[in-house]
Symmetry: D2
Subunit: 425 residues, 4 copies
């Protein structure tokens, strides 16, 4: 089978996004470009702005930061009429193709980037002139490829005899696990019967496909901000309420939350800070961290314990603490029904020389929100891996996608959508 979409178009689109990496809720350029492309196609509905997201969003940047990225997108040439709809950080988009009575199939791709300084030498994007133009930010996890997969699959489906409905979810804010939840709470997910989520790479080489990724750890990100009372550490140590002591007591005891017999748990105080000067009892401190669990229950067990530790550490040193959840994702499992379809389709995709039925992720992903939304309504979901030779690891400055895998992803995903529609009675 050959693709309807040209390889060069896929490459060009991916590189455009690659040059404009954006953080969660700030994917203004990315969203605008996607919408712009969709408008040139025979798509039935294009949703963007507040109605692709359910009511509450976590960890939205402040107005200044939103404005900065907004302006940057505008300066980079994003269409202003589209941008206007995204104001306030309502990024992401959903494309809907309606072709008769078949099943409603969802495809989920994510679109955000990471706060990583991209390598500027011995690195294809640098050498090829499409290195990040947003200094300090980088598509270091391949979401530029994911968005390209989504657009390419639409082209393929449009060119086919597909019968059914296809919804492609271009999801914002996966890296901070903030986008999956509101998108899963939008009305658009309601009627999806089959959901395919996708990730490129994951240490699989170009030509390898994983039909069903599992082992998602449920995760919750927390921020605890301690505030106390400063005092001169020499003159009046007793007048201070010391937030660094509270923070240290919290850290020591967070890592000591009991292991659980029901499965794996995790905890990390990944980012901490506090104080102003050696001679001042520290007035402000914070811990930004995460807990995970093999199941959502285990994550919640850890999250509850973490809350208790943080609160009592504050009480211990007579300081205040405010805790906040910055992001969250449940665990999920790929359904065998869909895994079988993907595996079958993969066998016929050009360039695919290895099909793994299952693999473990060992990390977290908020695609799980959409997967569970579909599964909870009796539908099926799978999380597909599309291998790509990547020189550096994910989340490193030398990560890159082998662009040959763009075609593989497009063919695999569109083929899967068509096969689902075909098999469905």
């Amino acid at each position: 089978m050959s693709l309807a979409v040209a390889h060069d178009d896929l490459v060009q689109f991916r590189r455009d996004l690659h040059r404009h990496p954006e953080p969660a809720w700030c994917e203004f350029y990315t969203t605008a470009r996607i919408v712009e492309e969709l408008e040139t196609r025979d798509v039935d509905e294009i949703h963007y702005g507040p109605d692709v997201l359910g009511a509450e969003r976590m960890n939205v940047p402040d107005d200044d930061e939103l404005a900065e990225w907004f302006d940057r997108a505008k300066a980079a040439g994003a269409r202003e009429d589209i941008l206007a709809e995204l104001e306030g950080g309502y990024t992401g988009a959903v494309a809907v193709i309606r072709r008769g009575d078949g099943p409603v199939v969802g495809l989920r791709v994510d679109i955000d980037a990471l706060p990583i300084e991209e390598a500027d030498a011995e690195h294809a994007p640098a050498d090829g002139g499409f290195r990040s133009e947003n200094e300090g930010w980088m598509h270091a996890c391949g979401h530029d490829a994911h968005a390209t997969f989504g657009l390419g699959a639409i082209d393929e489906v449009l060119a086919s005899d597909f019968e059914g409905t296809l919804k492609v979810f271009f999801q914002p804010g996966e890296e901070q696990i903030v986008g999956g939840k509101p998108m899963a709470e939008s009305e658009l997910i309601g009627d999806v019967e089959y959901l395919v989520a996708v990730h490129v790479g994951l240490d699989h080489p170009t030509g390898e496909v994983v039909a069903g990724v599992d082992g998602f750890l449920a995760v919750s990100h927390f921020l605890a901000e301690f505030s106390g009372v400063p005092s001169h550490a020499g003159g009046h140590p007793e007048q201070g309420k010391n937030t660094v002591q509270a923070m240290a007591a919290a850290v020591q005891n967070l890592y000591g939350i009991p292991r659980h017999a029901d499965g794996a748990t995790r905890v990390n105080a990944g980012l901490v800070g506090g104080g102003t000067a050696t001679n001042i009892i520290p007035e402000e401190s914070y811990v930004e961290g995460e807990v995970r669990g093999e199941t959502t229950d285990l994550m919640e067990y850890m999250d509850d314990k973490a809350e208790t530790v943080l609160r009592s550490a504050a009480e211990m040193h007579e300081v205040e603490v405010e805790t906040e959840r910055l992001g969250r994702a449940p665990s999920a499992t790929s359904d065998q029904e869909l895994v079988d379809v993907v595996a079958d389709v993969a066998g016929g995709v050009s360039g695919v020389d290895s099909v793994l039925e299952r693999d473990e992720l060992g990390g977290s992903e908020d695609a799980t929100f959409l997967m569970r939304a579909v599964q909870d309504d009796g539908g099926y979901a799978t999380y597909v891996g599309v291998g790509t030779d990547h020189p550096g690891g994910h989340h490193t400055s030398t990560f890159d996608v082998d662009e040959a895998s763009l075609d593989v992803g497009v063919e695999l995903l569109s083929g899967t959508v068509l096969e689902i529609a075909k098999r469905r009675p």
Copy 2:
């Protein structure tokens, strides 16, 4: 007695310095202005550049930061020929007046500022147009007044029948307790027989003088930098070597260093930080802190224990630690012989309505290095407090000096110098 120097000149000089607050080893503008003023006077020797400082300086900023302040001083109008001598952060100056066979008297004033954003309303410097021009920095402890005291006292002594030698030490880097030690190790302190150090304010009102301040806690500032190994907190927590855990264990146990029967001790982890992201085991962390003791021995007891805690906390979590001492000052005591002189002189100073013989500082000061250098050679030293009505506390954004106290300080210090020379057989 009336002053030879005009009040307005004192005010103008103080305000000039106030507009240009600079950190330790970056007092380029301040030093250049002092030297420039000294050159207009009948001073026998003006020392500046490396020879006012003994060999080793702690905590010198990196070249970029030095260059930035250097350029800023140049832009503010500091004389380039003087600046050239200060390159590399060799700030501070010593003025020497030799008038016959009398005693060698030293006067020590400090000249650096603090990283505090100055208030911009309901604050005399803001209202009077001499608010800090170096945003984020402020003369919030009155060292602008101290330098003015030094210059004014020189004028008074020059106008008098003083017989002896006067050395005025314009010391850099007191706030970070880094300037006292190298200045005390320069050759210039060697022959000083009487040393008078001075501080404005200290919660004493205008018109009050303290003839001998005591209760200096010996102090040592330390920096401990932990480096470990990052890993994905979900995927491979066991592959990380976690510096935040090490840092937290260190903090918990630093505050637990045993109290000492011989006197007061202090410890503070004043500034801490670590990690990069919630989902990464933190590779780098640091603690910047201090220990103090009522005596130098007690400070060293604390310092040794702190080192042990920091090293073993690193070992506990299998990470590396590098510790460094950023600044240090011993304790010291004001000699009764000089306290008596100051108290006697103070009684006759215009505007002085209250003379306290002794008071306790309860903090630290690296004037103690110079005091002890003199005392160790058989000389005498005292640390004098010159009251000033200050609206905000020291080290706050609303601190200010009542300029009426400039005259008090100049008269008290010059009077003391003359009285020492007079009493000396």
Copy 3:
């Protein structure tokens, strides 16, 4: 099938042992009674004393405690000639039956008891007059039944047409996981090709059998003894070297050993103590604890980390620490080959109404040493569960064995031995 051995004899023997519960390395009465019984049977070899145990034993009680239990066994009527061989705590026994050329089958039962005060009312042993006569100790885990299984199985095999070799290992010290290792290092295990270990209860009712128990966590027990320097807490806190501070730092950080991606880990500071009086800086402290892992490697990962934490906690507070391993057991897995045999046999055992192929233990057991010794030489092992209605949980004062299960165990184990011999080509 009916048993050769009378139910009443099984009951009587079990109750005799139940009345004389003994700790690890002190099973003098128990061993002597077993040997005495074996001597009345047509057993080819009876091993007891040092040669049933490899060279090194962990956690042997001191001479006084050994002597106390030794004397108690004598007073309770144990045969003195047998006791003499056990002196020094060389408890345990191995019976060997050689009947022609068939396979060498091992059966492992353990014989020690727990430091638990037995219930004295509403409890069958109390009501039936066979409550523990060693106050404070109790067969609260059913090892009295295990020894009875072993003896009964010997009777059945002797009464059969068994062809092969049967070795029954009456193992001491399982509760403290100290007996398995030396018994697995004795020469007697060397030629065993099939090993069946057994446990009664485990929350399975009478009539239920588990053919292969898995999920043994590898475990290591440690003891860390800190020794410091006492001083008067009011007069000279600085002169002390505080072991309670070291112990607390160790505990906090032991629980914080990073979780491992490869599987479950555990850590517990189960027993701690320190100090002498409120006003004395504590000179001595200790932590007795354990680490576990889903695999032996994971246990060793935890054990290495624990050692590091203990050593550095001591260094942190300038005290000494001696660490010791008190007991240890690897993980192990039941081989499907033997699980199949047991399941098949169980189906035909009187009173068995439920056969589970597999179950998880979730705890630790040092039968794993013998299992792995056999498996490492190419043999097969399984760990069998024999259900029993037990009113209280294992390790509680109201635990008891439903004596109907004695017959089930004897028939199941002897049947398994015979079936192994039969199937073996």
Copy 4:
């Protein structure tokens, strides 16, 4: 001056008490012997039983322990009619001598012993046949001498022309700082105008006297008992509520209570324990400790902080904690008025060759309750040191009193009482 009382009588009485050391609230034998002796003298009132103690007593042993010591006292020959009054642990006695209109003078001596195993060789009490008969307990701080001082001083005063009232307080429970408070709350202290408390030894040799001991640290003893939920550390670590983790967090943070600018503070977790077995999450743990302060306010500052730490450490690990104050004493100062009297008298006492006006204790004492009760009513108090050559230090198994100092103490104290009466207008 020579004494009315014979040296041999003093020695015999002291040795009788030395053979019968008793803990707080269990000084049955000691109290009975004192009362018996008082009854043979011309003393106006002898108080014992509940009326020498105000309402509330801390840390009274349980009934079993009281009964054991009660029976032991009876067996040792204590008079049963006296013992009957002491039942419930109402130990201690007050003797009152009324001789006309002079001042009311109090003398305070304490009578309890320590849980120390007395040396049994190269130790005068062992060699002389008066070693402790209560194994594990010892008069290792000289309170046997104190009681002897009290009785001897009564003899001397009775033999003199004393005019006034003398009240001798034989105080129980000083070592646990539990006796001073209730005795200071009895009505008997109400009219005392001058109080002299006394201690032997304190590292001063025989022949040396300290007229006024100061530097008492206020102290509070606390007991915190944590109770959680046990669970199997391998099978269900998450089901436990771990008190050892709570205890360790408490200890780490108790030592980290901020130092105070107003003066010396102390904290010690002197005695800790918890848990039952390596494989059980520890259900019970405790910390017995103390805080001290240079002033009573400072002690209370520490005590409040300790309470906060203990409570929040429990919350952190979701366990319960009960805290209790076991004993308490304020700080106190010797009044110069009385110090002068003692110093004057001391100069004339036989065998005294060195009189120190002042010395620092650096520890705690609950004589301070009686001292402050008198001082708060406008009276005067001093704490006198009577030197004695003591081979081992206080609170060690080789401590002993040079019996020559018995005469010194008796003469000094009675002389002071007479001199007070003489000087008083």
